[in-house]
Symmetry: C2
Amino acid sequence: MERLPGFRDFYPEPLPNSEAWSADARQYIFGKWREVARRYAFREYDGPPLEPLELFTLKSGEEIVGQLYNFVDKGERAVALRPEMTPTLARMISSSERNYKKPIKWFAVPQLFRYERQQKGRLREHFQFNCDIFGESDVSAEAELIALLIDTLRSFGLTSDDFVIRLSSRNAWQEFFQQRCQDESKAYQFYQIIDKMEREDPAQSKIKLDALGISADEVTTFIKSGTPTAELDLILKNLTARGLSDFVRVDYHVIRGLAYYTGVVFEAFDKKGEFRAIAGGGRYDNLVKLISGGKVNLPALGFGMGDVVLLELLKARGLMPKFDSHIHAFCLIEDEELRPASLELIHDLRDEGYAIEYSFTPAKSDKQFKRAMELNSAYTIKLERSADLELTVKLKNLRTREEKILAPGDLHENLG
Amino acid sequence: MERLPGFRDFYPEPLPNSEAWSADARQYIFGKWREVARRYAFREYDGPPLEPLELFTLKSGEEIVGQLYNFVDKGERAVALRPEMTPTLARMISSSERNYKKPIKWFAVPQLFRYERQQKGRLREHFQFNCDIFGESDVSAEAELIALLIDTLRSFGLTSDDFVIRLSSRNAWQEFFQQRCQDESKAYQFYQIIDKMEREDPAQSKIKLDALGISADEVTTFIKSGTPTAELDLILKNLTARGLSDFVRVDYHVIRGLAYYTGVVFEAFDKKGEFRAIAGGGRYDNLVKLISGGKVNLPALGFGMGDVVLLELLKARGLMPKFDSHIHAFCLIEDEELRPASLELIHDLRDEGYAIEYSFTPAKSDKQFKRAMELNSAYTIKLERSADLELTVKLKNLRTREEKILAPGDLHENLG
């Protein structure tokens, strides 16, 4: 019995095979995401992994359906496993924003899904760190969001040698377009060309731009100038005040393909250019209005960071820790008469928060010790009855091999 | 735009409406689950939320399909959103058990799904704490698992006045049945009658038992006796050694409806009998063999604990904390000249792990202070320039109203 193609099993480390993903690494990444969001005073939310199909087509058009893991459910509803979190978030905000003071700063760690028939071997699910701010028009919100993104990557040990935030502006490109082309219906087509320029043959891009009556040279000159707009300048100054100027640069190559961005946009890239974008986001001031059917209008901005590229990058830079069971002590039970007293001791230590392991059934002394070593336990503990029939504990530090004889009540002070 | 029926939105507290669920409460519960599992040296795993339909029908028969959130995907595969974790776990163990030392002690916190057409208003998803042990036949493993279950409930502040583990034995009932009925094909039917006895009219149960040629009086006498089998006696002694005897009692009413249990079974109930079972589990020694197509044979046992009944119980007993943003300090920016220096201070404090909030844009002093109070911040901090142009920080404890003037570098020592 096999799992479905494109889905992952997450195993405890050490991993059993090359196909397995690490549940420990996943929890490590989720833990850092939550920790940095908490420092930035972002609150966690979540929504259903399954939503009405219409929620996603409303935002992205009918053409998104070809990429969705969608189906008709037993109640004849057209539904889809969520491909992104933003529509769900906009739905939740639309219905409940009046109960929250602005600006609203929220994050989530959803699993997201897609289904494209043609792409064999590609993952059909991943996890994403989503951070969003609602109710703030000022670009100080962009600076806060980008600082959070930078500090999230820093929390894994990545430095300004490893990654950079490429900052750009959909408005700047919009202005550029409107000065050169009067047909507003072509704007999205133009953004798509800019979005693909870095990966595409320049001659090909030129043909497409010519068709819109836009000069490829002018596009190139604009990108090369890298002159910050007034908005981008404010963001750069704000980030500089925080000591984060090394982590960000203006780069008009970035435009974000999605139609719904309305202002500043940004992407995080590894500096060696080995990986796809680590994260991306921007301002989307019209989405809440769209999703709420015009009832609620709130400025909004956000970013998403996936677990897959991040994990690849952290591995490549040697920044993923190895994980084991993190046992504090393995309790050796050599005299079965002392099993009940050993179980009491184990229970007391676990109650104090220590992770304790032991052999369920009678086992040879060297076999128990070997198991303690395999588990990378910090200590072994062993109850013994002394000559005067008092219970004592022999504590052995498996790193230093140092041994101590203690009264059972003194043990917890000596467990690192 | 509405969410699908039976699914939940999880919001930050305070909750915006009576329909909303608390994302904070969910994370609190997940945190306790993971923490106690870690103390018991259980390792986390996860699998796909979507699996081949066959994985579930193989374990539970075709009749399970009526309760599943199943569909045919774009690749013409019959698939289902997982209704339980055990089949996925058995699949993972079957393929990889050789890489792990026995006993294997694993846990997961999956979201599970079901779809029964007739039940309106019922949740179609919930989260479950799943703990399982593989590779141990001895009932010391049952004792370990039940101790973990008890300590998980204790970690929320529940006591032996609040809940009890009802311990029973599928083997004892099997023996009872075989002594009175030779037709083994009726065994599952018999277990179903016992499973429903507590909720059903006794006359109705008697009619069903009569049809199997089994005396209802003998069943009642057996249940009333409550005499532990040799296995159950060992488990009780083991739990007593851990100081947990008050939390468990033999109760043969419990038999667990599912067909796949093979030995000891147990359920956790609130003592007032107000709620459905909080948790349930038992031994299922044949499942790995079944799922692996006979390739792997490993004894197994486990339990599951859902988030919904647990949360209802904790609320009813006044054991759910209130949650807020847990801000350490709100940084007041009254002089816009000091915004860059304030941003630097905020960033330094966040880097040290403190949760800091501030106003993105210029705002009146009393409005900023009000926001700090609404957020239940522990402190306010405010950069000021003293007469000799040195930067100082005014730190105010919002509980005690105590104020201090500090050098910026001394601040972190004074933030609780």
